[in-house]
Structures are given as structure tokens and as C-alpha cells.
Symmetry: C2
Subunit: 444 residues, 2 copies
Amino acid sequence: MTTLIVGNSRTEEMVGDLTTLSPDDLVSGGCGAQRMLWYARDGDILVLPWLPETAYLNYVTALTGTRLATLTLVVPPPGFLGGDILTPDRLADEGFRDELRTVLTTRRIDQVLAVYTDTAIAELATVLDIEPALPGHRFSAQGGDALVNSKAAFRAMAAGTGVSIAPGTVVTRPEQAEAAINALLGQGYPVMVKQEFHGGGFGNEILATTDALRPAGAPQVVVLPDGPAVTDYVTQRWTWLTGGRGHRLVVERYFADSVTIYAEFVITDEEIELLGVGEILMEPVAVGEIVPAQSIDPQVRDRLVVAGRRLCEPIRGLGYRGNLSTDAILTPEGEIVFSETNGRITGSTHLHAVIGARVVGANHRDHRVIMERGGWQAASFTGALEQLTAAGLAYDPATRTGIILTSCHVPADDTVVYCVVAEDLAAVREYQRRLAALLTGVSV
Amino acid sequence: MTTLIVGNSRTEEMVGDLTTLSPDDLVSGGCGAQRMLWYARDGDILVLPWLPETAYLNYVTALTGTRLATLTLVVPPPGFLGGDILTPDRLADEGFRDELRTVLTTRRIDQVLAVYTDTAIAELATVLDIEPALPGHRFSAQGGDALVNSKAAFRAMAAGTGVSIAPGTVVTRPEQAEAAINALLGQGYPVMVKQEFHGGGFGNEILATTDALRPAGAPQVVVLPDGPAVTDYVTQRWTWLTGGRGHRLVVERYFADSVTIYAEFVITDEEIELLGVGEILMEPVAVGEIVPAQSIDPQVRDRLVVAGRRLCEPIRGLGYRGNLSTDAILTPEGEIVFSETNGRITGSTHLHAVIGARVVGANHRDHRVIMERGGWQAASFTGALEQLTAAGLAYDPATRTGIILTSCHVPADDTVVYCVVAEDLAAVREYQRRLAALLTGVSV
């Protein structure tokens, strides 16, 4: 079983127009893409935006039990946005494709695993003559994954299948947006506006008549006290709200003080398999997560999984194959309100499919709580790892507890992403306290 | 059983940006909307862009056996584009809504039948408190019908469900369009480019390296002899190709000398019911049609219906309810290649649901061929009708043969649309010859 793994994190359908990403966004996107190394098994081929440092390669493969020397790492030449992320033009480079073809003369690819299966990935599979290795190739080759990641299409599919969504609608014109925003504000509800294609809450804004709200799921609250303020907001923000591309816009009620949860599934020809349930930490946008979700009781979890699976069914009917995260909030009133689906390798997938299933192991994962967080200020990956080890906090395969460094964002913002594995939430919190004591400036 | 019938032909998802329609397009759209009168039964309420002339009202209701006096016709005040078509702002007019509310105090609406169920129709159902009367209301209220009418989404759904489509892809950027066009032209195939949202072939263009092709399904063939010509074409036409709204673009192989056919279905909570099969006459865009299709044999018809039904299934799974036309071509090699789906009352629906089922009648329709064509030059609807009657060509309910005037486009371009009902295709042709002899300037 050989997998062609492609670290194409960011795509236009993940974060919108790539040309609007800042240099820091690009570097950060590339750092996130290196996380695909976690999925590698002996003999796999990885296409990455750039070669991660040796320390990271050694560290990750040691924890997953993969022999680094068996892996083939391929980096295409820089593209129109440089070398930080794997843009489609890089994947289309003929020299790179020839390099892959050469690798493939001695290897049979059984599976293609890309962060996001857009038409660039589908075309790559076609030119390499490995279409059958890419699940749902026919659907993805026609741009189908856009349907599964569109927040606008999501609302229609959820409504159409009877899955609960926030009151609101999907609009295409400024006057419709204004009417929809005014209608919700007029009923006394704050509003969330969502770009059709974006991620992590960065394409969302919360609108309210006063400044009393704490934002979650969007970077900020915009105060719009009256109708004229709404008109001005829609006029001034219209290009941004529509992704600079005439995309559709979601306008829906915002539920304050809610818990953000998800159920992630793997959709195959044969079945819809639950991968896991987790809880996203919003401060005010996604900063980390807890697996399994700790703020919900088993009944809520069951409702989440049942409704999430119901969302998977029409999407499977369309021909999509791959991971699908069905995201929701649990309101203070105990209602589960779905917010979007993401058809891709998400920021959570590795916690379930690798950290839980392979590092901790299938026999033990039910007795562990995993919390991942970013933002640990570190001068280097090696330095952070040494600190962990010296303090006795590093993950120990014998006890199956401790702290794992899941990705390195030092090139972007001098931080690393860490992941605590412990017996329960209290033990996770204890690890966090010890880490905070060790490191000045880490917020816990 | 009372139906609220709404003649909202044209919407943005049918023909693209409404503000780009010419004055003639607007008048023509409004004339087509009057065709909704055919669906009326005793006691129904019709919302129309303007009141059709009395002769038309009398004529249509006489043929359908509906008592005109029992109908309620409502016309909202003009909107931002005037009074020719039912734009969303007209449906939102408060005076109009109050008028409908008054009508509804004495009537219970069992069904809402709109040409196109966009969010404006869904909202109208909500404010009138008749949501359950609109099939698929939840889906339509979130803009879902766009998914069912998008030529881009169609390609993904068809590919994902294993229904045959033309080689090609869906693109979002000019450089992708250029590559896709060059790839097909380079293989020696002409290309059809299709706007995501348009109808009747008017959003399509055929691209070829020579001028030898006869266009069908698009107004024209654009000759692009080489790569630089493709680059220029994409650059100059990009705004038009993306509907002036950043829509997606379909690029696919064009099959010359094909027959355009469709199977139309009605999707309900309970089932997917075949409404009928027909053949579209392209000269070079849709000018008429024949029901049932005459250029295909029973085996082709069966393959069309089986594959069309397979397309309906995922669309039903999404939550869409209503009519769905699954359109295809039969290539000279005998392959059925699907081209799009239209989730709305189509230009064919009345031929099956009214002319066939009610005027001819369920017991006799299997022994009739129906051919509808536009373009009969006429100074007035009454004048055309008198000519038909004087010549003994008018439809005779006793013999269930003859010519019916299905819609009046005199206000738009001094034409009427007629429909021949006869025992077989030869008899239809004979009616056409007699009509041509009667009228100078009618092409048959």
C-alpha cells in the first residue's frame, strides 16, 4: 500500500482568493501543509511545498513508527506566489511531473491523499495515470469539492435534509444582504455573515447593535446600531464579503456563548464511517481543539453524530469521497445548530487518524483526552522539543501520555503547535499548567 | 385544491444578470411568463407580470376547461426593471402582498407553482404563511435551486453519479479556461463554453479552429485558429463567460450533428415521476420542440430515462422538489451525453402537463405527436387565431388534432408560438405545410 500524499494546504476553496494572502499567511499555510508528514507510512511519496527541517522529519516519523529513509519527498519549483504553498501551477510543472513519473516507475500508487481535492489534484492523478487511486476522482475532476465546502451550498443541503441550521439565508446581491441583516437585527439577534469559501472563522464577521458581545467563530464584532449603519457596512464590505469573486454570502443568526463541536466522517464507496468527535476552542477564531469533545454529554454527542451522518448521505449521493467534517454549535439552550461542512483533510483529521489511532493506538485512545493548541512561542522546533524533554513533559510511548509537537510554525511566527495527551481533562489541564510554568508567555 | 401560480420567468439563475437583458428580452420574458395561464384550474390565483389580453385569457381557459371567472389575477406594481417581468422587488411589494393576503382570507392555498423557486418565491411563501404549500421550501429558501440549475454543479453531480457527460471540466480562472480549451482543440475537437447560469443556449459559444461547423445549442461558432487566438478570446470574453458575476465556466467538447433530447421528471417526497421525453429543435438555439422525441428509437429513449432518473436521485437527496429536466444530446455515434439539468418549469413542461395531459387528454396523448415552434409573424393574437380558424387548422377538441397558439409574443416581436397536435410526425409536417402555404414568411 503506497500513498501519494500532497500537502496542498491552502486552496482557493479553503481560504478564498490566494492572491489576497499576506506573506505571513503564505508561510503559515506552508507550515500547516507539513503536517501531512504525520500520515506517511513506509514507502509513501510526499509532495510538499518545501522540505521541512530534518529534526521535524525525524521527530514525526519516530512517533508514527515510519522509516524516514523509505519515504520519497518531492518539492516542485516555486510558483506564481513563490514557494510557500503548493499552488496549482506548481503541481502542473512539467519537470515536477516527470520527477513523479520516474518515482512511479518503481512504485504502484494505491491511494492519493491530498489536503484538498480540487481540479489541480484530479488533473495530477489523470496525468500520472493513477485516477483509480483518488477516491471520487470523477466528482473532483469537475470541481465538485467546491459544493462540499461552500457555506452557501451547505445551508441548502442541510435545510433540504432536515438538519438544523441557524435562521438566515443565502444572498447574492447587496440589497438582499441588507434586508436579511436588518431582519435578524430587528428581531433582536446578532448576525454572523460568512464568506462562501474560507476557513477557521477568518471569512466571518459578527454584526450586532451593541458592543456587548464576545466574538467566537469570527475575528471581530462589528457594531451596527441602525439601518444606515447596515447599509454603509454592506456597501463598504461587499467585495470582501463576496470573496472578491462574486461568491454568495451567508447571513445567519449568531448564537453567543455556544460550544463549537464537530463530527468528522470518512465517506467511501461502501460506507459513511465516523472518524471522531471533537470540540474547537474559539478565541475568537480557532486556536485549538479537544478530542473527544468534553463540553457535551453522550446524548448531545449522539445527536451530533446522527445529524452529521444525515448530512453525509446526500453528499455521498453526489459522488464526493473522502473526509467530511460536519461542524455545529451547541447553543446555551442545548440546541445543536450546524454551521458548515468541510470536505477535506481538516485541522482535526490528524488528531483522530494519526495521534489517536496510531501514536496512542486503537486500544488506548478511548482512555485518552487529546488537546491541541497553537501559539507556543519558540525560537526553534528543536529548542521547543529540548525544553519539553528536559522538563519531563514530552510524550512517552510507554505511558501514552505527554506533549507532542504536531507542527512547526517557527518560519511563520516563531511558534509551535503542541498537543497534550493525558488520561482525562484534569490531567490535560495539569500538563498545561506545567507547560505554562515552564514557558513565560504561553496562555493556557 | 387551489394553486398560487407565479409567472416569474426570468430569474437570475435562469438567464444571468437581469440588468443585462435588453428591452426586447424583458418583453419577451414577460410574454413567456403568461404561459403559466395554461396551468390554471378553477379557483386558482395567478401572479403575472402584466394582464394578458382578454382574447388570450379566453382562448387558453376554453381549451383547458377552466372557468376564467373563477381565477384571481394579481399584478404587482412595476419594479426596478419596469413592468415586463416579475423581478424579486415586485414580489416583495407590500401593497401586492397585502392584496394576496386579502385574497387568501377566503382561499386555502394547497400548492405554490412558480416558474423558478428562488429565494424570492420562498420568502413570499413564508410571509403568506403557506410554506407547506411550496414543495422543497426549506431547500429553496436557502438558494438551493441554484445548485440544480448550475451547469458547473451539474457536471460534478453527473460525473459523481456515473452519468455520461462531454469530456471537459469546470474552471474558475482565465488560465484554466485557456488550458482546457487548448487541450480539447489540440485533440481535434471543437469546444463548447457554457456560462454557469443561462438558458436556451444563449449562454453558450462554440469554439473551433475552422469555420466549417454548423452551430447547435449556441448562437455562434467562434473561430480560434491558434493558441494566441484562444488567449485573446478568453481575455476579451472573460466577463461575459463568467456572467459578469465571477461565476464558474464550463469548458467541454462540442459534438456536432447531434440531436438534442431531454427527459423531464417531477421530484416529490414520495417518488421521481417521469413527466415526458422530448426533442429540442436547435436553429442554432432552441426554436421549438417535438413531444415525444421522434429522432430516437425506444432503446435510446430507455437509456435516456434510466440515466436521467439516476441524475434525479442525488438532487432529490439534496432536498430539491419540483420539475427537473435532464438534458442530453444523442451523438452521431449513438452515445447519450448529458449536458445540464434545469430545476424549474421549463419551456417544455406545459406540453406534457397541460397540452398532452389535459387538452389532448391522458387517454389519447400516446396517439399524438406535439410540435411547438415560435416565430409565426402575426400582427395580433386574435388575427393569428382567426387565420387558423378560417383555414380549418385550429385545434379541434373533437378530433384532438390541429394547431394551438400556446403563447403570444406580439408585444415583443410580432410573433406567436404555435403548437401542432397530430396523429404522427407526417401529419404534423402536413399541418406545417398548410400553415406555410397560408402565411408568407413562416419557415417550416
